[in-house]
């Protein structure tokens, strides 16, 4: 013990920070995918012509599916802000791109949207990109650990 705090060896501490960053990345992806899905479901099942009136959009926010989507996207915003403090922007962007793939899958399964071979090829590219970026250090500018 030193100064009332346990001494943790550096590799263990680094692994813990890395795990927390990856768990938060997972949370960011889940809230984004489910939020976008709820929003899309709500928008496709509304019968009002939106036009460009801000009031129509504000009224729409309080319909159940859009409200659920908005809540999830607020959680996504807050968790992503925190993640941007823990990791590089150039790390967070590709790592969270799996959300695009999952959204395309949900679009096919629940909305019957057509997913062509180009989209599946695009999915493969995104997954390869995520693996490449996942092999690099999450934070290259700020060495302060996420406690």
């Amino acid at each position: 013990m030193a100064g009332g705090r346990a001494v943790v060896d550096l590799p263990t501490a680094t692994r813990r920070i890395d795990l927390k960053t990856k768990l938060l990345t997972l949370f960011v992806v889940c809230t984004n995918v489910l939020g976008n899905f709820s929003m899309s479901w709500g928008m496709k099942h509304q019968s009002v012509d939106l036009g460009l009136s801000p009031l129509a959009y504000i009224r729409l926010i309080f319909t159940p599916w859009v409200l659920l989507g908005t809540t999830l996207l607020i959680l996504w915003l807050l968790s992503r802000m925190t993640l941007l403090g823990w990791a590089d922007l150039s790390y967070v962007l590709p790592m969270t791109s799996i959300a695009y793939v999952l959204s395309a899958v949900l679009g096919k399964v629940f909305f019957g949207e057509q997913v062509t071979w180009q989209r599946w090829l695009g999915t493969a590219f995104i997954v390869i990109g995520i693996i490449c970026v996942g092999l690099t250090a999450a934070n290259t500018t700020n060495q302060e650990p996420a406690r």
């Binding site: 802000m81 590089d88 695009y100 695009g122 999915t123 390869i128 490449c132 406690r147």
Partner: protein, 121 residues
């Protein structure tokens, strides 16, 4: 209308992300602050930071443009096409935020950008 919304989303998202990354690195939020009991205090703290308020403003613009886009386009088009910002933001992260973008990370970002373009086709 569809492509105008895409342009608004990409532009405002890039600005919002740069501002958030810059400000959140100046005052890092600890994992303990994410607990439900501390969430209000965390939110209050975030609301006092100018660059974050500006970032939220740009995100709000992006959000309403995204709502409009969803009403005129498929989800499987709307979500991937707005990821055009990935390549742009990686360049800006290197130039503006001085992040060390290694060859492997550039390759990954390029793969993601190509993938997103294919998804949007």
């Amino acid at each position: 209308m569809k492509w105008l919304m895409v342009a608004i989303i990409v532009g405002s998202t890039s600005l919002a992300d740069l501002l958030q990354s810059f400000e959140m690195k100046r005052h890092v939020v600890a994992a303990e602050d994410l607990r439900p009991g501390r969430l209000t205090a965390m939110l209050r703290g975030l609301a006092k930071r100018g660059p974050l308020v500006l970032a939220v403003f740009f995100m709000a613009i992006s959000f309403f443009a995204f709502m409009k886009l969803l009403s005129v386009a498929d989800l499987s088009f709307a979500v991937p096409v707005t990821a055009a910002s990935v390549a742009l933001e990686t360049v800006l992260a290197c130039l503006v935020l001085h992040e060390k973008v290694t060859a492997l990370r550039w390759a990954g970002a390029l793969c993601v950008a190509c993938g997103v373009t294919l998804l949007a086709m």
